[in-house]
Amino acid sequence: MQAKEIYEVLKTEFGDSIISFNDTAAGDPFIEIQSDKILEIGLFLRDNESLLFDFLNSITAMDLVDKLAAVYHIYSVSLNHRIVIKLFVPKDNPKVPTVERCWRTADWHEREAWDLIGIEFVGHHNLIRILCPYDWEGHPLRKDYTAPEFYHGIKVN
């Protein structure tokens, strides 16, 4: 199935929760959705007979200076098609429902997104840091991040 057709299917099912379909820029098209609907949409994508998106490639968190974004790359092993789902959250309250229930890959990927960008996944069973040490401060991939001068007495920069 092409991305445009998947968008039509989602639009008829979820209506206003699907904000737009964007294929003007170079590269892959993506579907923008409301941030609080990701779990319902994920379960629908996974279980619908004509979609069967059973494989989550990755969850990317991005810092767009004025807001944060989470990008879900989803693939169907049985039907061999891809889709990109994107959602935006404000910087002061970055909360997104977890999709851990839907794809188990999300467990570690959401922890990574929390660690590096600081998007909080509501309902995650164990949302702790994964790459940085557990007592690290700040979210390193934010654009305004400055590395600490010392960590446990070791000079960093």
Partner: protein, 191 residues
């Protein structure tokens, strides 16, 4: 050294070897270096190749041990991150004296390609433990490993043994005072 040459030629020395005690001890130490098997990053793959059939590090008398208690020196092969730094330091402290450290690759020497924005990368192994030999390269070629090893053996051959313990303690104290803002006892390993 020449000790072996004299042993092989009975007409010259008559089976008698004259050398200083230090020379003989150093000769023995430099020809049986045991290292702690400890790979960190890309250089560890090159290090595996050095250990394998083509380059065969074992012919220099260098074999691996899995416990730091049995090892003479530490090959730090690759990028040391801040999460790993305290563990490397602890491994170094577990080595029995005399102990040596070889920093392999540009990451262990200075942070390598990750020096600029590496918020989680240690910029040089010598910030936490003293280093005896640096092997440059990203990763170093196997020949560079061999030369680094031979440099260390040459260093051991030149070493004075007596009163060494006292001198090392002084050097270590000097080193730790200059590089740490906290005293070592303040640093806690967080698991």
């Amino acid at each position: 050294m020449g000790i072996l040459n004299r042993l092989n030629d009975p007409t010259e020395g008559g089976g008698i070897v004259l050398a200083t005690v230090e020379d003989i001890l150093n000769w023995g130490r430099s020809k049986s270096d045991w290292y702690l098997q400890f790979g960190l990053a890309c250089c560890a793959i090159e290090f595996m190749a050095v250990n394998a059939a083509h380059y065969d590090l074992m012919r220099y008398g260098i074999i691996f041990r899995s416990s730091p208690r049995q090892a003479d020196f530490l090959f730090v092969t690759g990028t040391v991150t801040l999460k790993m730094a305290e563990r490397v330091k602890r491994l170094y402290e577990q080595l029995a004296e005399p102990r040596y450290v070889i920093a392999v690759g540009s990451c262990a020497a200075s942070g390598g390609p990750y020096w600029e924005h590496g918020y989680h990368v240690l910029k040089g192994l010598d910030q936490i433990i003293p280093v005896d030999v640096y092997i440059p390269g990203c990763p170093p070629r196997p020949e560079a490993f061999q030369e680094g090893m031979m440099k260390l053996q040459a260093m051991i051959n030149q070493e004075a043994i007596f009163n060494k313990r006292k001198r090392i303690a002084e050097e270590d104290a000097k080193f730790q005072n200059s590089n740490f803002t906290d005293s070592p006892s303040d640093i806690q390993i967080k698991m």
